[in-house]
Amino acid sequence: MDFLSDFLTLFLSKLQSPTLGFLVGGMVVAAVNSRLQIPDSIYKFVVFMLLIKVGLSGGIAIRNANLAEMLLPAVFAVATGILIVFIGRYTLGLMPKVKTVDAIATAGLFGAVSGSTLAAGLTLIESEGLEYEAWAAALYPFMDIPALVTAIVLASLYINKQKQRIAAGEQLNIQEYASKQPVAAGGYPSEQRGNSGGYSITASGYPQRDTAGERVKIWPIIKESLQGSALSALLLGLALGLLTRPESVYESFFNPLFRGLLSILMLVMGMEATARLGELRKVGQWYALYAFAAPLLHGFIAFGLGMIAHYTTGFSLGGVVILAVIACSSSDISGPPTLRGGIPSANPSAYIGASTAVGTPVALALGIPLFIGLAQALGG
């Protein structure tokens, strides 16, 4: 009871951070159709600046850290990433009118990590004076990549199974499959079959390639993820922090600009959230529900696993929060293209809408303060 009241006061006090202010500000700005825009090139550069800073500070600090400690949290990160995908596939994926591949892709995106959310989390954690291991931010790829890989593998297995069944002429199954398609998910699969007004035409009735039985390759997916702009910036920063002596430029440039650039990014995130709301609506309420609940659930799972590491190997409470935030976040930069390429048949409106319009705001506005408050209440 006492614990709960502690927690609540701590939680509420977090809700007034300027970071959130900019996020909400962005939502409102877009909602009232303001012509205010942050140019795309600025947005890209801001993301780069934030993630390379996170990487640099990590790299500099890691130099004299005992990386053995990192093992258990890293394992937990991988486990969480994989688990999240399966949870999504067997909750969201079973809802009526939800296409299974769309559900898998969405779960993959929620398992993947948002650099921006991570950056926001780190800021708040530091301003709260929570201690954490220098390498904690480096847990990012350990959850991000396994989640994306799992989602893509799962989806292609599912699709191949479908193809074989269809080949085997299980008409029932087809109907069931077709019936599960959203009526107007961005007009997606429906149009594909040309059953809405106009009809689709082809020059020479091109042959369906028979991809059934194709095995999906995993390494390309991993490479693709590592090549993503966000992860590349983080890893570049880590490497530079480890191998060169960037302290001077870090202190004079990357660090002082961090909070300000973060507020700019939050503004963009807010504008994005509103902009994507429409797409989310198209794909139905199940996605909205999932996008609201899943981040917190994922965060709690990771928080729990983190606490295990806390008691067994002395993983810091700050580190636990970071692990929870990573799980709580859903990718918004690198994830989507990877999934678009890896699960082409999934409807991007579904997973991007869910992640950007609801998932990220929830992670930023509820998740981060929640898990920090929790850690502080537990910390005493």
Partner: protein, 105 residues
């Protein structure tokens, strides 16, 4: 001396830039031009200009001048077969073009 040519236009998702370019090369077209576009089709409106999280979903437009109609159709079929089930895109041609000057055609 001028030369008759067919102009093939393919509009699809930016994500496919390299893959489509590869197909065009393989079929043996003498070259191609790429332009960034926005637009609207049967699927969803593509983001034109305004910063959206990752612009990987905006469109690109390929213009390929081919010496023969067959080559144009071949490229188009290959692209459609490989991508148009899952990605948005359209392709059309105009076969009354005349090339006036080219370094190689």
């Amino acid at each position: 001396m001028t030369q008759q040519a067919t102009k093939l236009v393919i509009i699809t998702e930016k994500l496919l830039l390299n893959k489509v370019a590869k197909i065009i090369d393989e079929v043996g077209a003498p070259g191609y031009t790429v332009i960034e576009t926005g637009g609207k089709g049967s699927r969803n409106v593509r983001s034109a200009g305004k910063p959206t999280v990752g612009d990987s979903f905006s469109n690109i437009k390929f213009e390929v001048l081919t010496p023969t109609r067959e080559m144009a159709v071949k490229i188009s079929d290959e692209v459609a077969a490989r991508f148009f089930d899952d990605y948005s895109g359209i392709s059309y041609l105009c076969d009354v073009m005349e090339v006036l000057h080219a370094h190689k055609f």
